[in-house]
Subunit: 246 residues, 2 copies
Amino acid sequence: MELKRAAEGEKGFEKVFAFLRERLLAGSLKPGDRLISERELATLLGVSRPIVREALRALTVLGIVEIRDRIGTVVTQPDVSVLNDFFTFALAQQADMLDDVMQARVAIECQAIRLACERANIADFERLQRALAKIGETIDEADAGGMADFEFHRAIVVASHSETLMVLHGSLAGLLTHSHRSRRELVQAFPSMKTYLIDDHRRIFDAIIARDPERADATLRKHFAIGDEYRRRAVVGDIDRTSASG
Amino acid sequence: MELKRAAEGEKGFEKVFAFLRERLLAGSLKPGDRLISERELATLLGVSRPIVREALRALTVLGIVEIRDRIGTVVTQPDVSVLNDFFTFALAQQADMLDDVMQARVAIECQAIRLACERANIADFERLQRALAKIGETIDEADAGGMADFEFHRAIVVASHSETLMVLHGSLAGLLTHSHRSRRELVQAFPSMKTYLIDDHRRIFDAIIARDPERADATLRKHFAIGDEYRRRAVVGDIDRTSASG
DNA sequence: GGTCTGATCTTGGTCAGACCAGTAGGCTAA
DNA sequence: TTAGCCTACTGGTCTGACCAAGATCAGACC
C-alpha cells in the first residue's frame, strides 16, 4: 500500500538517514568525502529538501558529518566532542548515570593498560612520565590537578595503541572531567588524598614500565576502588582511614 | 532592515536549539512534558517550521525528546542507548579494526563479568544457564552455535545490570557478529574446539555462580586468549597443540 | 602568456504556504 | 446518557522561491 512510499517502506527522514547510514557504515563514505548536494540528494531519494536537511542535521549532532555553509556537507572524522551535548542534557536530570558510565571507563582503562604493557613505546612512557610529574606539581590545584589526572589516564589509553579504546575512552571523557574535578576538590579537604593520588599513579606507572599486565590491571582497579571509597566517605564526613592502598 | 536577523544573533537552527536547551537545562522542561507545537514554536521564535523541525530532530537523535506523530513532542528520560548510533558510525570507520574492536569487547565483558558477580540475580543465572545449555546443543551448527555463543556473552553483560556496558557491548556486537561466525566455522574443522567452547563457558558460568570476580575475569580473559590462539593457528594450518589452556 | 577580475553557477540557509493523515475533544443526534 | 460524528490541531511532507557567499572559468588587462 502507500503510493508515495518510495522503494523502501520508510518515512522520508528515515529513508534519507538510512541511505546515508548505509554508505557510511559500508565505508563508501569516508571521512573527508563530500556528500552530494542537498538538492541532488532530495531528488535522488524522492524527498524534499527540508527532509534531507533534517537527516543531515541529525548526522551533524551525531558528529558524523559537518555542514559547511555554501560549501557542502562533508564526512568528518568521528568527533567525540558532540557527546558533550548529550551528557550535558542527560546529567541535567539523571545524575545517577555517572556511576554507571564510570563502570565503562574502568572497563576501557583496565583493558587499555594491559595492552599498554605489551605495546607501549618510548614515546608512550615519556608521555606517562610527564603526566605523572604534572600530577605531583599540580597536586594542590583543583583545575590543573584534574587536568593532569585526566592526562595520565588518557596517556594509558593512548599507550594501548588501540584506536577503538581511544574512541570509547574519549567518548566518556565528558563525564570523566566532572568526576575528576569533583575528586580533586576533595584533595583540599583531605590531605591524605595527596599521597593516594601521587603514589597510586606512580605504582600504576611502574607496573606499565615493568610490562606486567596483571599487576597493572590490579593496581589500576584498586586505584579506582580507593577513589570510590574516598568519595563515599567524603559524603558521610569520614575520611583518612584508607590504609589499604598497598 | 535586516529582516531575518535574529534577535539573539544566532542562526535559525541555533536559536531554536539554544532556546530549548535553556529550558531543558534549567529544568522548566522536564521528562514527560509536552512541548508547544512546531507551528507555535516557529512563530514564537520567528523562524520557519522546517527550522524548528531540524532542532527537534537534533534533540531526537540526542535522545532528549521524542516526536510523536500527530501527538506532539515530549521530553524523554535521557538514556545512553542513543550513543549506539554514534558508536556504530564512529567504529565503522575504522575498517581494519576488527581485532581492535575485539579489545574493546574484551574490556566491556571483563568489567561486566565482575559486576555480574556482584549483581546477578536468579533471572540472570537462569539466562546464563539457558545460554550455556544452548551452546552445548548447537555445538555442531555454525549459525545456531554462533548465536548461542553470542547469547551467552550477552547474558554476562546483561547480568552486570549496567546500562552503559550493555549499550557499548551492543554496539560492538554488531561489528563482531562476523567474528563469531568465522570462529564457529573452525569448529567443524577442529574437533578439539568443541571441548574448549563448552568447558570454557562452563567455567565462566561457574565463576559467576560462585560470585568470584577475580576468577571470572581471569577465566573469561583466558577464554578470549585461547580463541585468539585457535584462530591464529588456523591461519597457518596448525591446530590441536593448544596445551597451554590451564 | 600569465595573472587578475568579475559574472555566473552552485551551495547551504531559510521562508511561506499548502496538503495529508490521524488524534482528541467537543458537539450533535439518537 | 451515550454513541457517533465533526472539527480543530498535530506532526509529516512537499513545492517553489529568495538570499548570501564560495567556486569556477571566461575574458580583460598587464
